[in-house]
């Protein structure tokens, strides 16, 4: 499989934008489930950046970032599972699954 020169640049840009999009939503949205999704999207942006850099390398495709990203995906799933259980605990304890209303609505 060959990768030309321009495609990795497109995915590098996309990775950066995904990261920033996730970061913005993490700050702005108040619901905890949306915050968990935002962190996952930030992670996907970082993975895209890693793989884009790996595909751009001069000596062919670099397998080390691939291994890193596979490890990262599995760790992200386990962290998401723990976060979801914590969210349910917050909901059961406080009755709300979102941060308290102190800023602007939503």
């Amino acid at each position: 499989m060959t990768v030309d020169v321009i495609s990795p640049q497109i995915y590098l840009l996309c990775g950066v934008l995904l990261f920033v999009l996730g970061l913005h939503a993490l700050v702005v949205r108040r619901h905890l489930l949306l915050k968990i999704l935002a962190v996952n999207i930030m992670g996907s942006g970082v993975f895209m950046l890693l793989l884009g850099v790996a595909a751009r390398g001069e000596g062919g495709i670099d397998p080390v970032p691939h291994a890193l990203v596979i490890t990262g995906i599995v760790v992200a799933v386990s962290a998401t599972a723990v976060a979801l259980v914590l969210m349910l605990k917050v909901k059961a304890a406080t009755g709300l699954a979102r941060l308290p209303l102190s800023g602007p609505e939503d």
Binding site: E58, L86, L88, P104, D106
Partner: protein, 224 residues
């Protein structure tokens, strides 16, 4: 609401500034050779033919070992947070779901095993195979939410820690045999890696199912 979302809040301004800075930095990255060369040079000692598997299980085995430990810790922390609720799904009526599952689960088991085995020479490996097996387990749990056929607690815990302990045992044996921690004798590397991958796939599949169920088992007493 819509109007407020488009307003220039400080958070939006900061995000846009961060995006601009990151784009400038990323497009300006100098070309670098990466680690493809060193990996290709070391492949004759790896024991497997696929570079990604070689990196995961041999060159950077320590990282993969710790990652399996992270998976186990995730299940343990969920277990420590309370007992599990029943899955919020109704039992499926009619023969379609059960008939489909009866054919699909064996296919998933064979696919998962094949993915683990093929990882030594082509794309695939313990994580992909374990994930397919875990997905099959999740489907099984979803189709029978009332009568979950769980193995006994001791067996669950053994399966959960199988990958970590197999990895640790092989790594320590490598240390005692003089190949360094997490080092393999090159002649046995293929068989050891395949064994670790099988154990890790079982652990990963079980971990995913247990993460999906969430919480300790309700029937078994854990507070001995």
């Amino acid at each position: 609401m819509i109007r407020r979302r488009f307003a220039l809040s400080p958070a939006l301004l900061m995000s846009l500034a961060l995006a601009g800075l990151l784009i400038v930095v990323v497009l300006d990255l100098p070309p670098q050779p990466g680690l493809a060369g060193p990996v290709a040079q070391a492949m004759d000692q790896a024991g497997v033919g696929h570079p990604v598997t070689a990196v995961l299980l041999n060159f950077r085995g320590y990282d993969t070992f710790l990652e399996l430990a992270v998976l186990m810790l995730a299940v343990l922390s969920i277990w420590s947070l309370g007992r599990r609720d029943p899955i919020p799904a109704r039992p499926v009526q009619g023969p379609v779901m059960h008939g489909t599952l009866r054919h699909l689960i064996p296919v998933a088991v064979v696919t998962g095993g094949y993915l683990v085995w093929v990882g030594s020479s082509d794309s695939g490996g313990a994580f992909q195979g374990g994930a397919v097996l875990g997905a099959a387990g999740v489907m099984l749990m979803l189709s029978l939410p009332r009568e979950m056929p769980m193995p006994p607690a001791l067996l669950q815990r053994l399966g959960l820690s199988l990958g970590v302990f197999a990895f640790l045992a092989v790594g320590t044996a490598g240390l005692l045999a003089g190949h360094g921690f997490m080092g393999y004798p090159p002649a046995w590397a293929y068989h050891l890696i395949l064994g670790i991958e099988l154990a890790a796939a079982v652990s990963i599949a079980l971990t995913l199912v247990l993460l999906f169920l969430g919480g300790r088992s309700r029937k078994v007493r854990h507070d001995r």
